[in-house]
Symmetry: C2
Subunit: 153 residues, 2 copies
Amino acid sequence: MDKVDAKILSALQDDARMTVAELSERVALTSSPCWRRVKALEETGVIRGYHAELDPRRLGYDVTAFVNVMLENHRADLGDSFEIAVQGIPQVVACHNVSGRYDFMLEVVAPDLEAFGEFARNVLRTLPGVKEIYSSFSLKSIKRTRSIPIPPA
Amino acid sequence: MDKVDAKILSALQDDARMTVAELSERVALTSSPCWRRVKALEETGVIRGYHAELDPRRLGYDVTAFVNVMLENHRADLGDSFEIAVQGIPQVVACHNVSGRYDFMLEVVAPDLEAFGEFARNVLRTLPGVKEIYSSFSLKSIKRTRSIPIPPA
DNA sequence: GGTGAAAGCGAGGACCA
DNA sequence: TGGTCCTCGCTTTCACC
């Protein structure tokens, strides 16, 4: 991980479809070593994958909600089955086990508020061990780049 | 937006570097129409871009925090300057204006808890109009696919 | 909307410094 | 490590259905 790698990561984080030719120009290297660096970054797991970013609205998802979930108790198996269940629900686009008052925070997409309400009632509330949920809605997306700042060294 | 487009979106959301050749095979089309569809999806904004997904840990970010921010009042200009300020801070990887007790929810990465503490004190707390912040930390990432479910139609 | 062909370029490997 | 060269296959754009 040197400065060249950092530049490569920035560039690919910004545009995953950039060709190695263009990338190598940008980092002042010829294409072979540049290509090898990219492969190394993929193999060592620094680059986890490449994904298209889609516009939820254009796909009919007008609602993004953050759902805080509290479990009934903290037995490990309860948390585990909750986690496994959550992974299988496509509307849940992200989920973290968090510190604080609640145990989990989920990011959920839904076509509209009504659909979200139904989803919360029929799906989320019925997940194993759920005691309480508190939802808050995204009124406006200020920043949605999941871009990680690349350390200069 | 038909079934073929849906398949294309799923595939690219999963692997943005998939070649058009491979894609066209998967959706049972020849490469030209497949390519045209991809271009159309890009131009109409359904596909917003392509990004490499990086591993925060391998870049030295061991802490992901969700920071809830309450502003002093709800004057529009206060919210605006907060939003603009937030957009310029690379450690803030996502930010939403949300409903509920707090006004904004930020997702922040930091090398460790100490660095996060400093960041919260020196940067977040000093942003325009900030009255209160409440942070909760990701203890475990259960699901981090930002993948949106593709509607079947 | 779809096909097939053609030109040009990039990916990826072999090999050298 | 980085650079050069080479080849195959893909991308991209035709003209046409």
